[in-house]
Symmetry: C2
Subunit: 518 residues, 2 copies
């Protein structure tokens, strides 16, 4: 037994069942250790951003920790963007990153880099192991850090010599991560919150991971107090669809969010941060709430949302929230537009499906359209680092038995398209819908703020994806994923309905949309 | 005029002609400023690793600074791995990274991250601009940092409010980066070096950017002194082919490099670092030179290699180096193997071409085969972060009029395959040869050190790329790049010879190779 074996045994003892991996020479002893660890499934990703995005999706769906195996500084850097999304989602991810032995690293070999600093820039704990004997406790400590109440991205740096050095004796029990008790709100704050919500012009803003029962509690509280119920723009994962309250979603663009929220004088936050604009603008505020709006942070992201909402419901003496009768969404016909695209997804989403939304500008109607659809779970782009959708779908499919629908904009797809290969390799029931408007449409919109959108020059060249057109059918087939292009809403409905029966293996559907008229 | 305009004007005044870009909302004022800057060509890359790898290739070919435009922390992180390669190549790259205004960032919006720390982890200078008035001097300072004698990756963090704030008056002249004088060796060291080289069992190790004239000087010195002439495993860019000395290359694998170098008792380094193994192994040393070998670092990487070699040549009183008569490489026939692949490239490479080598295990015979080929320039994977080849070819093609041949392993291709789209978009004369052995063969080799290579389990799953097989012809076509698959050395020669006449636009050739028999 060596340090790598001790690592893998400790991970197994802590319930790690999957490692999303792109290993290299410095991780070869860990790979060998995984050979003997029947309980941990290694999933090869052709690029580290796929591995980390898959870990994010897996953690969101399972509620547990997800693990990656990465190669030195470059491997961690390649995975950084989707780890940023995971951090913003508040889900626990443990990266195991192989590094050079200290003595080797001091000689500055080609792959040496400031990997500790790089890992620290992710904002979570960085644990460097120094001796094989320390591996189990260091691993448990890194897992403990990942599972903070506000979960984080935790990185374990494992020097190759620690991995290959003998580990004397397996303990009777491998150390496990310490449990954290998420903070419950104080009774006094609950009472004050109810007062605020009843005072009129009030909002209850929820966010993070939202179960149907918690959404129902929140909706009942809002109904009883007369407050508006809102959800943050990009929640981690939420139950959604018929029978579950679909709170008013805070709009992405500052221009629209400010008027949306301007009437609010008091806001109570439960599992959500104060809404802040995605970007800064010379003429717009950064805080989306009005200048005079008071904010009560009842329960931070990562806090005990269930207790907070239960206490609020008790204090407001609310009954059970009952959904209104809404007809199921009708299948759309006619040309493909953002509206018919959203309607087609809503009309066909299978019950229990996981919907990953990275459709961006093409997906503006999705949330509302899906409110009456078959019950599903919805994951969104928490950190704004695009390239989340396909990898998250990979992780979600490995973390559950549910069918997965990945709705991905063509621009975003290109950051991590290699995930298609892993979807095919693992034979996962994932339907990928590529919303192809052949432009970074959000950037065209942003650029148009500054004056008329030029049809040539940098503003055109840096936002146009149409020259050459990307053939997503060909791209999917390159990775062993069956694919087709649809030309109407009717065809999209048919294609999605065919998938809805449950399938072994992924399929990609390209949905051409016109770019925004600006 | 605003801060973004001042940035672009300063870049233009400093000779920046291309920006490899993947911009977002926070860089929109820079994009708008580029509209009016006729002298700077914006090149859209679908992923930041493409932009930074292209910058690396561009800087290697032009000898000047290359610039990127990236979006916040995630954009910089996505480009980190190829910036690592650029740092290891010792070429100057300036990243312009848009960030949030300080006041916005303090509110912790979704895309906020520890971007300063992330940038610092690249090891180069990080310059954050605070006022529009400071933009020109900060930009010139960042460029000065990039152009240190040992060039580095320099990052300019440009808050959006600095970009959009008014810039009062354009100066008569925009500030320019300070010139650095690379250090020339001391006369005493030159004398000592010649003594070492003449003492027997000596090696002259060159590296970095190597011109034909410098290689000839080095070869003449080696010939006159009886020393062995060696080149580091991964030089930045070197003239190569018929008429130019092709030094013995230090072998990549420590197992072979140690015996290769064991007879050396004295080594003189010119533009190269002491050779260190890529990875550490329990049973092998990290230093590739024997324990008793003395090392004289005559001229550090980034130093004045031309003066060092000229002084050495003068001290050794050498004549002009004259190439021996070597027959041109013969076109191979028969099955595709690493040897026939290398011979096919050597037989067809057009004079003056730039060859980018990221063929990895499939490319073991390339260097020697190309020694007698038509004169060309060779770029290699300096930092070991794979995903370099295609982007570097993009940058090389934009930095010169030469045809470019990119030799890329199938595993490496997957890190930055999106570069294919930019190659098609820019209609560049780049021939991509994908060496497809459907495995991470180097990892199979490394894994086999630890015991018989399993045919299932993690060791198989994490090194196998064959299930499903990646269809590179389909992948290329997805991005608008014509492609074909060849099945024999004869077909490869034909395909390469057809490309050698000069073409508008890229083409991809898939070369299936068997994985190593282990």
């Amino acid at each position: 037994m060596n340090g790598a074996d001790a690592l893998v045994a400790t991970l197994g003892a802590n319930g790690v069942e999957v490692m999303f991996a792109n290993a290299g020479t410095s991780e070869m002893h860990v790979v060998a250790a995984l050979d003997d660890a029947a309980g941990i499934r290694p999933v090869l990703c052709l690029f580290e951003g796929v591995a980390t995005g898959a870990a994010d999706g897996y953690a969101r769906v399972t509620g547990g920790v997800a693990a990656t195996l990465l190669h030195l500084g470059p491997g961690l850097a390649n995975g950084w963007a989707n780890l940023h999304n995971a951090r913003r989602a508040g889900v626990p991810v443990l990266n195991v990153v192989g590094v050079h032995p200290d003595a080797h690293d001091r000689l500055d070999p080609p792959l040496s880099s400031r990997v500790d600093q790089l890992a620290a820039s992710l904002g979570g704990a960085v644990t460097r192991v120094h001796r094989a004997a320390d591996v189990p406790t260091a691993t448990a400590q890194a897992l403990t850090s990942a599972r903070q109440p506000r979960a984080q991205v935790s990185t374990l740096l494992l020097p190759a010599d620690v991995a290959w050095s003998p580990f004397a004796t397996a303990p009777g029990l491998w150390p496990t991560a310490a449990a954290h008790q998420p903070a419950a709100p104080r009774a006094h704050d609950v009472t004050e919150a109810i007062g605020w919500l009843r005072a009129g012009r009030a909002g209850l803003v929820v966010g993070g991971a939202l179960s149907a029962s918690n959404l129902s509690r929140a909706a009942a509280v809002a109904e009883a107090t007369g407050a508006r119920l809102l959800v943050e723009t990009f929640p981690t994962i939420m139950d959604h669809g018929a029978g579950t309250p679909s709170p008013e979603r805070i709009v992405y663009l500052t221009d629209f969010a400010v008027p949306q929220l301007s009437a609010l004088e008091r806001v109570v936050l439960v599992g959500a941060a104060e809404p802040i604009g995605f970007f800064a603008y010379p003429e717009l505020p950064s805080r989306l709430l009005g200048a005079g709006c008071q904010v009560l942070d009842l329960c931070a992201h990562g806090g005990d949302v269930t207790t907070a909402l239960t206490d609020l419901a008790a204090a407001a003496e609310v009954g059970e929230w009952r959904p209104g009768a809404t007809p199921p969404p009708a299948a759309p016909t006619g040309p493909l537009t953002p509206a018919t695209f959203a309607a087609a997804v809503a009309a066909t989403v299978p019950e229990g499906a996981i919907v990953v939304d990275e459709a961006n500008t093409g997906g503006v109607h999705l949330y509302d359209a899906l409110a009456g659809a078959a019950p599903h779970r919805l994951m969104t782009l928490t950190g704004g680092a695009i390239g989340f959708g396909l990898p998250a779908a990979l992780g979600a499919a490995l973390g559950s038995d549910a069918p997965v629908i990945a709705l991905v904009a063509d621009g975003a797809l290109e950051y991590t398209a290699q995930a298609l290969w892993s979807l095919a390799r693992e034979s996962l029931d994932v339907t990928i819908v590529v919303v192809a408007n052949a432009a970074y449409d959000i950037l065209r919109l942003e650029r148009a703020r500054l004056g008329p959108l030029p049809t040539s020059g940098a503003s055109h060249l840096l936002t146009d994806l149409g020259s050459p057109a990307i053939d997503h059918v060909s791209l999917a087939r390159a990775y062993g994923v069956p694919a087709r292009r649809v030309e109407s809403a009717d065809e999209l409905v048919t294609a999605l309905a065919q998938r809805a029966g449950g399938h072994v293996g992924p399929e990609l559907i390209e949905v051409p949309l016109a770019p925004l008229a600006l």
